[in-house]
């Protein structure tokens, strides 16, 4: 392709917590410092900083990218914040990628931070403002509506039952028991999910990920630098992103077309022709359990309506043929929106280097895919990493 090769050479993260004592800036610092330490680099080695963070409404700050810049190591450096709603976490890695692949910089620090707990009465209330101010907000919608509407459509079109979907929550929360930073890891059963409080049918309490505070950071480097820094650089083989129309009520929500478009862009760039064979680990965005299934289908890793069967057959378990969310995902580790997406990319980084400890997927995986999603059921961002 002739494009500059870019690798991930270091990563770090904070615990994901319901409420952290640290300010957003401090969380960003902790993750950044850890990422730099992990590859024995200092801020002097960093040429530029790319930050990703989702709604400013959570932090109660306008232009929160500016507020966070000190904590993200951006003092006297070129610094930019990208923002695609929930897709931001994986997109930040893409943003870092184009900083280095452009040839302008050799190293980039990518930081994602989210502090949702500052928003009162509940972080969820900030989501009222994502809806169209004139045609939707007067109806006082809340975030769970939109997930429920999509989940219902997905289930009805494919004739699925709640139990088909609940197994994802069980799998991911259990996987997260092995993640030291996890906020809501638990050993639950499908029954527990089906008996949990109905929030907005068909969404129940154990179907969803929590609101969280947390930060994740990673260091990207151009090929010649990456090889100096580490013996095990993890290459960014492909990136893709796509944003669907804002008129979400004019779309059929049963299938995330935008995820497919993003995936195809990434597969093309990575030269991947048979994703189901060539992708060894998948970290799709799972803020709600059905989303993992929805996204697996959009990523062309499962036929439409078939993802629940793959789960039931154990294919997506950590020791299955195609492990999905070995990290524990958002459902198990937590959902500080932008940080959650980058957590998935970091998970692939550690997995592909054999450093994921108890979460390690067996069999020496070589290629992984991370995907994030956001906006009004609208954006798909995909990053493919390989060793």
């Amino acid at each position: 392709m002739g494009m500059r090769k870019v690798a991930v050479v270091g990563a770090g993260m904070t615990k994901f917590m319901r409420r952290a004592q640290e300010t957003g800036r401090e969380l960003a610092y902790q993750a950044s410092k850890m990422a730099l330490d992990s590859c024995e680099m200092t801020l002097d080695d960093i040429d530029c900083v790319a930050l990703g963070s989702a709604p400013d409404a959570f932090d109660g700050l306008h232009m929160k990218g500016e507020y966070l810049s000190d904590g993200a190591g951006a003092w006297h450096k070129p610094y930019m914040r990208s923002y695609v709603g929930g897709g931001t976490g994986v997109f930040a890695a893409i943003q870092g990628w184009y900083h280095v692949a452009s040839g302008l910089f050799d190293t980039c620090l990518v930081v994602c931070e989210e502090k949702m707990s500052s928003c009162k009465p509940h972080p969820q209330s900030a989501f009222l403002t994502i809806f169209d101010h004139t045609t939707e907000r007067p109806l006082k919608p809340n975030l769970v509506w939109i997930f429920a509407l999509e989940m219902n459509r997905y289930m009805t079109v494919h004739g699925l039952e709640k139990k088909d979907i609940a197994q994802v929550a069980v799998k991911n929360k259990r996987n997260a028991l092995d993640h030291p930073c996890a906020q809501v890891a638990a050993d639950i059963t499908v029954e527990d999910v089906l008996n949990s409080e109905v929030l907005a049918w068909p969404v129940q309490r154990l179907d969803i990920s929590p609101t969280s505070d947390g930060a994740v950071a990673m260091v990207l480097a151009a090929e010649h630098v990456a090889k100096r820094i580490t013996d095990k650089p993890v290459w960014i083989r492909g990136v893709g992103w796509s944003l669907d129309t804002a008129y979400w009520t004019n779309r059929d929500l049963y299938y995330p077309k935008y995820v497919e478009y993003a995936a195809r862009m990434a597969y093309d760039m990575a030269g991947i022709k048979e994703p189901r064979k060539e992708i060894h680990i998948v970290e799709p965005y799972d803020p709600f359990d059905y989303k993992e299934l929805h996204h697996l289908e959009g990523l062309l890793l499962a036929d439409k309506g078939e993802a629940p069967r793959l789960t039931a057959d154990g294919v997506t378990a950590r020791d299955g043929n195609m492990p999905v969310c070995p990290s524990g995902g958002l459902l198990g580790v937590g959902n500080p929106i932008a940080a959650a997406g980058l957590m998935k990319v970091s998970e692939l980084f550690w997995q592909l280097r054999g450093e994921a400890g108890k979460r390690q997927v067996p069999g020496r995986p070589r290629t992984g895919l991370a995907q994030s999603w956001g906006d009004l059921m609208q954006v798909g961002c995909v990053v493919i990493l390989g060793v």
């Binding site: 990563a11 770090g12 993260m13 904070t14 615990k15 994901f16 917590m17 319901r18 409420r19 952290a20 004592q21 640290e22 969380l27 902790q30 993750a31 992990s38 109660g60 009162k120 009465p121 509940h122 969820q124 209330s125 009222l128 101010h133 004139t134 045609t135 939707e136 007067p138 109806l139 006082k140 919608p141 809340n142 769970v144 509506w145 429920a148 509407l149 999509e150 219902n152 459509r153 009805t156 030291p180 930073c181 109905v198 929030l199 907005a200 049918w201 068909p202 969404v203 947390g214 129309t245 008129y247 009520t249 779309r251 059929d252 929500l253 550690w350 450093e355 994921a356 400890g357 390690q360």
Partner: protein, 168 residues
């Protein structure tokens, strides 16, 4: 993280920490007032809602009729200006039965938000609204519904000029 790392940064707080006064906090209630210009397409939409009608718009090239109206067809990149009146009825494309409010507090009576494909518009072209006068257990995707409006003198040119949709 690297299997080598033992401790991760971050200091989780609990409700007890707050109740016992161990945490210092500041509060700020921002003054955020906006007056959004509705513009050409939505102004007409709102004006027609006040008149008791739902209006959509048609793309001459792909011949889709969509609602809410917009000045450009996002697929063809063609300007849209063929206003088309739509019916007051529609079909439920998807729905939910919601027991929590926008601020995450619990509601006793559920709300039933739905995407309703409006008759007269292209297949799939729907709007967000609420369903009422129906038992939650009876709502189905594919159900036919019609708009129930506020009396003319109470309408203000808002999506809430339609109070809700009910089964036909």
């Amino acid at each position: 993280m690297s299997a080598n790392v033992e401790t991760f940064p971050g200091t989780p707080l609990s409700q007890a920490d707050f109740d016992e006064g161990k945490i210092l906090t500041t509060h700020w209630i921002p003054k955020l007032d906006y007056g959004w210009d509705a513009g050409v397409a939505i102004s007409r939409y709102l004006a027609e809602l006040k008149n008791g009608r739902i209006v959509g718009i048609r793309c001459q090239r792909c011949r889709r009729i969509v609602v809410p109206p917009r000045v450009v067809c996002e697929w063809c990149w063609e300007p849209m200006d063929e206003w088309t009146y739509l019916e007051d009825s529609g079909t439920v494309n998807t729905f939910s039965i919601c027991y929590i409010r926008w601020d995450a507090s619990r509601a006793k009576e559920p709300q039933i938000p739905a995407v309703i494909e409006i008759d007269g518009a292209s297949k799939g072209a729907g709007i967000l609204h609420l369903l009422e006068e129906v038992n939650p257990e009876d709502v189905r995707i594919g159900m036919k519904v019609e708009a129930v409006r506020k009396p003319a003198e109470e309408r203000t040119g808002s999506i809430t000029d339609i109070k809700y949709f009910k089964p036909i």
